[in-house]
Symmetry: C2
Amino acid sequence: MAGPYKWKHGRQGFFSRWTEPRKAILNLLRRTSKHMSAKEIYTSLHRYYPGLGLTTVYRTLDLLARMGIIQKFSFGDGQARYEFKSNSKTEHHHHLVCSQCGKIIDYTEFTEEELKLIQKIENTLEKKYDFEVQGHNIEFFGLCKDCR
Amino acid sequence: MAGPYKWKHGRQGFFSRWTEPRKAILNLLRRTSKHMSAKEIYTSLHRYYPGLGLTTVYRTLDLLARMGIIQKFSFGDGQARYEFKSNSKTEHHHHLVCSQCGKIIDYTEFTEEELKLIQKIENTLEKKYDFEVQGHNIEFFGLCKDCR
DNA sequence: ATTGAAAATGAAAATCATTATCATTAATAA
DNA sequence: TTATTAATGATAATGATTTTCATTTTCAAT
């Protein structure tokens, strides 16, 4: 068993067993740079784990998202997409979404400036609305190179 | 017929008839401060327009969104939500979404600072990725007062 | 090692939002 | 008035996600 997830008795009460399907799904999301849907993850893994069911993929994605290890996005194409949450600031990115073809471009420009502003906003909003900010989602949408 | 939408022969080729259902749906979205789903709009209007069908609601929302009069959002609760696009800067706002109960809070703090930064980002991204930015979507998610 | 309880799984069915079909109606132009 | 086109709504189809449930796996305590 490799990787930083070696909890013997679960973690934070989310689950108690770190099983093969869970490992496989998380590892896939850690490696890929894509923003994969449940179906895509299922198709991709089913080749190596023929026993894997789509239901388990959905359940595991929900589990990992609730744990805060991955993030769920809705880009408006009818299916949720998931992304491994990197903790290092250097890998922090936001999205550019083509409203025509659905292509998603990650960009990392300005994230420092953004982050500074975001931090300020978060602090204010937390106080003003008594809201515990857990994360943010910034995206630009429009037409990509091929669609404009 | 009241309001700023009096086109006799359609507008920009999007449609040719400004009908009752279309008027009703747009007017509802103009008046409400909620972020309504298609079903909610349908339920709300069906009382006054018993003949109205859910299909027409979906079609009209799609039409208005393509025209740029309203904006479609996916907050991750499985149904799209729509908002009238105000053009005045003073009404520009972003969203605070509770990941527990789904409540959406509009906030207007920092929008000037945000807008400045956003403008800068947009310009750079347009050049770098040859991407025509049409809009942005900024949201914070976490736990609201009642759910934390 | 054996066993029993709890957790995890996958197939299939159910649900729910959205889209496509199609026959009917309304509006417009000739 | 009539012919044509646009718009509508009921219904069916689709597709993503959830629920149900019987079975299997794992872990802890014998």
